[in-house]
Symmetry: C2
Subunit: 243 residues, 2 copies
DNA sequence: CAGTGGTCTAGACCACTGA
DNA sequence: CAGTGGTCTAGACCACTGA
């Protein structure tokens, strides 16, 4: 069975894309079982009448996509059993709401410097008791409270952080508009809100909430730690995955 | 500031990797602001004394990583403001528990064929009222119930599904050991368990749970729909992201 | 028009693996 | 040793954009 996209690729696409699609189709049809030896570069060169650089690019991209495994001196193999793992996208709430064409508002409940308690100081990589920035902001979609954002920021990474009007730009925008390279750690869990969070989100104290904790780092230092609390009845994360 | 890894790359790495690292470092240092024009292929060829194919590979890989944007006839630009979105890995619970070096057990509460109610039939892409496979399995880590897996399977995609011993292999392993290419849709939310789920997971009826709904498709048909319920106090998802 | 990136070729040298 | 993939070169033709 050949899908329209497949046919389109086969027709006018550049040679490296045709080779790639041929191998991809074969993998989808089970022509090469996981772990099986696939055609060598030389064989593909002969089959398609193209140069080795061209099939090499096709194979290198398939490897980058995790569909094949290549070993120098040995050969190219169909990737072993697919890890059934998947990725889920977590985005800035502001973007998400705007993309739905809805109104986003933020109410700032806290915006100040504080002495960092030892545990937080350790996570941010600053001296215990030194000052850190703290904001507590509730985000609304069309007037409905959707997220309570409790955030600490390392002053060394964003000295001007407290000077912004967070009803106009989000902390995420402020913190990452300049930094090009960073990495993040996430955890997601279901939990009851704190009493304060329940009040700010206008929910019952026992309503299940989706709690995302995000820690963001540059190569050298922690930039910020955020606790994002969402009412379970109003918010869910969605994602999709294609191997 | 040059990290040890950077130095290592600069020293002995192949030329395309050196060009790539040079551009990556420049982006990290803010040498090219988001949206700014970066050196052309010809300029990099002159700078590094390598062939155009070599700098082309470096730039193509940076584009694949989302660090630069290239437009034919125009040039290469530093990628605009990083979307602050991130990916989170969702894995098979069995793998996860084993990787922690713990004991995984499964108790099968249901394993049978059922007539599909209309809503479910539509989601699986089968005729309403036709038979589908249904399993209800509770997964334990070291004797503690961690996940309640309520799963429906399209019989056309896995005719032998009900014949397996799910105390020995997981549905995920059974369903995806053969299929090479598939895609999945996810949703994650916080919710109360149903009465049955609370009982099976041995938790209070009002304990917040992390509920993952996963729909999996081949190119043509829906394979399976699973509702995975985890006690919020015992389970959290974790992930990390590097742009 | 000059400059850009997209792609390909036909060779090359090399490191590596396994017989 | 023959076969594999990793990488590079020095050219080429092309489509595209903007002056």
């Amino acid at each position: 069975m050949v899908s329209p996209e497949t046919a389109a690729v086969a027709a006018s696409a550049p040679p490296f894309a045709r080779v790639k699609q041929f191998l991809k189709d074969g993998l989808a049809e089970g022509r090469w079982a996981p772990g099986a030896l696939m055609p060598s570069e030389a064989e593909l060169v002969a089959m398609f009448g193209v140069s080795r650089m061209t099939v090499n690019r096709a194979l290198r991209e398939l490897q980058a996509e995790g569909l094949v495994v290549r070993t120098q001196g040995v050969g190219t193999f169909a990737a072993p059993l697919h890890k059934v793992s998947s990725t889920l996208t977590i985005r800035d709430l502001h973007e998400e709401v705007q993309e739905r064409g809805h109104r986003h508002e933020a109410v700032v409940h806290l915006q100040r410097r504080e002495a960092a308690p030892p545990a937080l100081a350790a996570q941010l990589g600053v001296a215990a008791g030194s000052e850190v920035f703290h904001t507590l902001i509730v985000h609304f979609e069309n007037g409905v409270p959707l997220q309570c954002e409790d955030r600490y920021v390392n002053p060394a990474c964003a000295p001007g952080y407290l000077g912004h009007d967070f009803t106009r730009t989000t902390p995420t925008q402020v913190l990452f508009e300049s930094t090009a390279l960073w990495r993040a750690q996430y955890s997601i869990e279901a939990a009851r809100p704190t009493a304060q969070e329940a009040r700010l989100l206008q929910i019952a104290p026992d309503e299940p909430c989706l709690v995302v904790v995000r820690r963001t780092f540059t190569r050298d230092a922690a930039i910020t730690i955020a606790r994002l609390v969402h009412p379970g009845s109003r918010y869910q994360l969605e994602g999709q995955f294609t191997p």
